[in-house]
């Protein structure tokens, strides 16, 4: 299954937000999206996930979802989006309850996803009782349990402190390498982008266009934090981004 953005353009009222965005995400491939604040990254992700209709162009699914996938295109949210009135297990079970599954199978799937994210001991805790890192692990478990083909991740680690982010980054790279999910990963953190992505889309300031694409051939599993090749890629992205970021900064300051 491939997820394809075909000349997507969007705006709100008189405000143009996205313009002519085209790219595709193939099986097992992670595409990172970076760009200045307000350039429409979250909007693009909502369009790709079918939560918003674009003004121009379209989001396409090519091919069929892998068998057994309950929710082929699945979001991981920046602010976790957990129901505070449900326990950890209840939050994960939520997305299975309306599926035709036997109760025992559902329980097993929930338990499996929780165990996969190291949450087995927290099944009966409420989100409020968890640290930010654990909350996002619940978000990831919930995404895993529906056996996605493509994960749409909008700054999934940006609400976490630096140390927790590092821990979750390890979990995430392990997960993506093992399960071979495809994904679109929106981030402001270039280090995260070069750790995870096969390709990095650098967007211009609003209205967001694809300004450049940086490719990193090395498999995710072989990448480490202090890698020279990755550092060079991050440097290249930053140079491409810098002018845009400066201009976007000015723009916002002018109102």
């Amino acid at each position: 299954m491939r997820l394809v953005a075909e000349r997507i353009g969007h705006g709100y009222g008189a405000l143009d937000v996205l313009s002519d965005i085209s790219f595709s995400v193939a099986d097992g491939e992670i595409v990172a999206v970076v760009g200045p604040s307000g350039c429409g990254k979250s909007t693009l992700l909502r369009i790709l996930g079918g939560l918003e209709r674009p003004r121009a162009g379209r989001a396409l699914i090519e091919g069929t979802a892998p068998p057994g996938s309950l929710n082929p295109i699945t979001f991981v949210f920046q602010d976790f989006a957990l129901l505070p009135w449900r326990t950890v297990a209840g939050n994960v079970a939520l997305v299975l309850e309306d599926r035709p599954l036997a109760a025992a199978e559902r329980r097993e799937m929930v338990a499996g996803a929780l165990a996969r994210m190291g949450l087995a001991d927290f099944a009966d805790a409420y989100p409020k009782q968890l640290s930010g890192g654990m909350r996002q692990r619940v978000g990831l478990a919930r995404a895993l349990v529906v056996r996605p083909a493509v994960l749409l991740m909008d700054e999934p680690l940006s609400a976490l402190d630096a140390q927790t982010r590092e821990l979750l980054m390890d979990d995430l790279t392990g997960l993506l390498a093992a399960e071979r999910f495809a994904g679109v990963y929106v981030t402001h953190n270039l280090g995260e982008a070069v750790r995870l992505a096969r390709r990095i889309l650098v967007m211009s300031r609003r209205p967001g266009r694809v300004r450049s694409v940086v490719e990193i051939a090395r498999p995710i599993a072989g990448r480490s934090a202090g890698d020279a090749e990755l550092a060079a890629a991050a440097q290249a992205i930053w140079e491409s981004l810098r002018e845009e970021a400066v201009a976007a900064d000015r723009e916002l300051a002018d109102g």
Partner: protein
């Protein structure tokens, strides 16, 4: 020379202490008793608490209290259930459906401020002098605060939670049941408090206007006969009724909103 940094924090964190609550009530009753005995207030204007207590016991023994209370409670429960139930349904519709919102908001704005007791004569014309007109008045009174609280609560539900549910393909009914309703529940419970208080006020007023049985009718009759001990006893019953209702809602809150703590 060293001085400690002056403390400037603290405060603004009122806590309810049960002992203080009980003691305050006790002091008030004791003051009342003292004022009566010292002759500062005439026992005809305000009988001492002992006499009120005696009257209460007598009423309870004779079964009169139970009769009036049963009449009031049955009106209260049926009227409140009807009105609050309809309020939840209409509030949900206003919170979720554009058409219902456009139609419902102006109607509520126009009808909410009408003192519902003013409609009792109209309901008597419609439903007769019997129970139905009183139940309708209470239902009408409970409906508006419940509807307003419900749509306010629905409006306040975090939209990202709704988008999350949509992104996992939850059907609309499940989203309403599992995301919208629990999210609106805190607001709905405070609406229940207001609706219940209004219902109690209305039941008494309605019973004073046209009823032979019920706490309101009893208080009015006692007043006409200058039986102030019985009158105050009736008022005490109302106060206890209000306390009980508020206690019940509080208990419901602590069970249903456990996740908030």
């Amino acid at each position: 020379m060293a001085e400690p940094v002056p403390f400037r924090g603290g405060g603004f964190q009122p806590r309810a202490r049960r002992l203080v609550a009980v003691a305050t009530l006790a002091v008030l009753v004791a003051g009342w008793s003292l004022a009566s005995r010292a002759g500062w207030v005439s026992p005809i204007a305000l009988p001492p608490p002992e006499e009120v207590a005696t009257a209460l016991v007598r009423l309870a023994r004779s079964g009169e209290l139970a009769r009036h209370l049963a009449a009031s409670l049955s009106r209260l429960v049926s009227g409140f259930a009807l009105g609050a139930g309809a309020g939840v349904v209409v509030g949900l519709a206003i919170g979720l459906v554009s058409l219902a919102r456009s139609a419902g908001m102006p109607v509520i704005a126009a009808l909410f401020p009408i003192p519902k007791i003013a409609l009792l004569p109209l309901f008597v014309v419609w439903f007769g002098i019997g129970e139905a007109s009183k139940v309708a008045t209470i239902a009408f009174g409970a409906f508006f605060p419940m509807a307003v609280a419900t749509y306010g609560g629905v409006d306040g539900v975090d939209r990202t939670l709704i988008r999350m549910a949509q992104s996992f393909g939850l059907p609309t009914l499940s989203i309403v049941r599992k995301v919208v309703l629990p999210g609106a529940l805190p607001a709905m419970l405070s609406g229940t408090r207001i609706a219940a208080a209004i219902a109690i006020i209305l039941i008494v007023a309605a019973e004073m206007i046209g009823a032979n049985e019920g706490i309101g009718a009893f208080i009015l009759a006692a007043g006409n006969l200058m039986q102030t001990d019985q009158l105050v006893a009736g008022v005490v019953v109302l106060s206890v009724l209000g306390l009980t209702v508020s206690g019940l809602i509080g208990a419901a809150e602590s069970v249903l909103l456990r996740w908030r703590r």
